[in-house]
Amino acid sequence: MNIMNLINALPGAAAQGLIWGIMAIGVYITFRILDIADLTVDGTLCTGGAVCIMMMQSGQNVWVSMAVALAAGMAAGMVTGLLHTFMGIPAILSGILTQLGLYSVNLKIMGKANQAINVDKFDLLVSLRYIKGVPFYKNTILIVSVAIIALILILYWFFGTELGCSLRATGCNDKMARAQGINTDFNRVLGLMISNGLVALSGALLGQYQGFADVNMGRGAIVIGLAAVIIGEAVFGKVFRNFGFRLLAVALGSIIYYFVLQIVIWLGIDTDLLKLLSAAVVAVFLAIPTWKGRYFSKPVNKGGA
């Protein structure tokens, strides 16, 4: 239990937390803005990693590979969106169907269950080897931080536009949105596309970071995303009111999640139990609003205006 072991592991945890933070921002868009729990992301994360790594292996530039990964994620989001809107399948089930289908798609993209990429032979944007002992401009933590800030700025701008506002209204009150002439079906599909595009981008970075893509790399991603959203809100919710800062809180929540994970590993807890622990923590946090309402609310004066 040498404290230095923990401290040495923290930069890696921060890098991972940041990369997963992009995914968590995607989850925030569906879960908090569109009010949909989108389970597609478990599949999309791997799709992003698989597409990026296969493209790079075939000699494509890292930027092109990541752009195609993003597009692949958006396509997956569109499938879920159309299952939900055009075919009328409940959102949660639509996500599960796409996710299951993506398992086969991901296997076909990679040709087998996993594909590696060698950091020495390919010009990767991020890697666990680029945490220490590299020039600062190649440092993974810096690069992903800049990427997250750029993404937050773009999303902040977008959700302030006419289209972005109509998307927020769709998630908040779709009856009102339609009465104000907003095409709620289109907006749901669009929101799912943006969200899954971000998740695939996160997967593309994660694949480079760990040096491989694996067909199971997205398992439980939705839970990690929700954990980041919830931790971010719990820790920064009172301070960050502005929409942009809320997205930042989600990214920070993801970093905190990975720090806590690192501490748990350092404490020597059986890593097989980590997913159970994550699930339990998220379950408790999701229950808090209900418990607050049921056990801690003061009687309110109903009726009247």
């Binding site: 977008f158 302030g160 536009t161 006419e162 289209l163 972005g164 506002c165 109509s166 927020r168 209204a169 908040c172 009150n173 009856k175 009102m176 949105a177 339609r178 009465a179 104000q180 002439g181 907003i182 095409n183 709620t184 009726g303 009247g304 205006a305």
Partner: protein, 264 residues
């Protein structure tokens, strides 16, 4: 302005819950008509409004707004012609968004939503001025989340949103039923003010016979998916609740057994 031609709607056809909610209903509204709609529960009042708004497709018949057949248009496209206020104050506004953001959404009703700014600075002045006409002090709270407002404030705001971009037809679905009497009266007063100011063609459902008589220039009563009474002009002006009850008994052969509608 509005022409409803022979529309019918049956919910849950072929099941034990089958309900013929509208039976060959026809109705024509002239430009500037303010029509109040009364009738018991399940008479088809809300169904008729929802049919006009396009919440679901009708089984048969046609709906024309200003001469244009909108029967096949989806709800969000028909919204270009319609202003709507619902019974539940929660339904008409987006609670997690600010007052000005809600108004900005309403101002763009009928336009395609682009990547231009969702709200422009010069709009705020207009919103402040219009909110001031409500007399609720909302003009000082442009950025407040709508979720913080009371039911009456939300209904007044929804009314403003429904009429911010002048609709060809204003649909009010018992928009004061969920409010306490004092607030309901205030919201009705605001309704009259806006409808008169903008000369809006209006369909207003109400449970309250007195309100139905006092407001508007025409009154229709529905029962069992049909329009059974249509009173307008001088006759409407001189109408009393007793007259209305009497007429109802005459037409339906039943006694009007709805205390809520009588007592308001």
């Amino acid at each position: 302005m509005l022409e409803i031609i022979n529309i019918s709607k049956t919910f849950n056809p072929g099941t034990v819950n089958e309900k013929r909610a509208l039976k060959n209903v026809s109705l024509t509204l002239e430009d500037g008509d303010f029509v109040t709609v009364i009738g018991g529960n399940g008479a088809g009042k809300s169904t008729m409004l929802n049919a006009i708004a396009g919440v679901w497709p009708v089984d048969q018949g046609h709906i024309l707004i200003d001469g244009q057949d909108v029967t096949k248009l989806p709800e969000y496209k028909r919204a270009a012609f319609l202003g709507r206020v619902f019974q539940d104050p929660m339904n008409g506004t987006a609670s997690t968004m600010g007052i000005e953001e809600n108004l900005a959404l309403a101002l763009r009703r009928g336009q395609s939503r682009t990547l231009r700014a969702g709200i422009k600075n010069n709009e705020r002045e207009v919103y402040r001025r219009l909110l001031a006409t409500l007399g609720l002090g909302l003009e000082e709270r442009l950025t407040s989340k709508v979720g913080l407002l009371s039911g009456g404030q939300r209904q007044a705001l929804t009314l403003l949103m429904a009429t911010l971009k002048k609709p060809k037809l204003l649909l009010l679905d018992e928009h004061t039923a969920a409010l306490d009497p004092k607030t309901a009266a205030k919201v009705l007063e605001t309704t009259d003010m806006i409808v008169n100011r903008d000369r809006l063609t209006t369909l207003m459902i109400t449970h309250n016979m007195k309100d139905a008589i006092v407001h508007g220039n025409r009154l229709i009563m529905m029962m069992d998916g049909n329009i059974i009474l249509d009173i307008r002009g001088e006759e409407k002006k001189n109408l009393t609740v007793e007259d209305l009850l009497h007429k109802f008994e005459e037409v339906s052969g039943e006694e009007f057994a709805n205390d809520k509608a009588i007592l308001g």
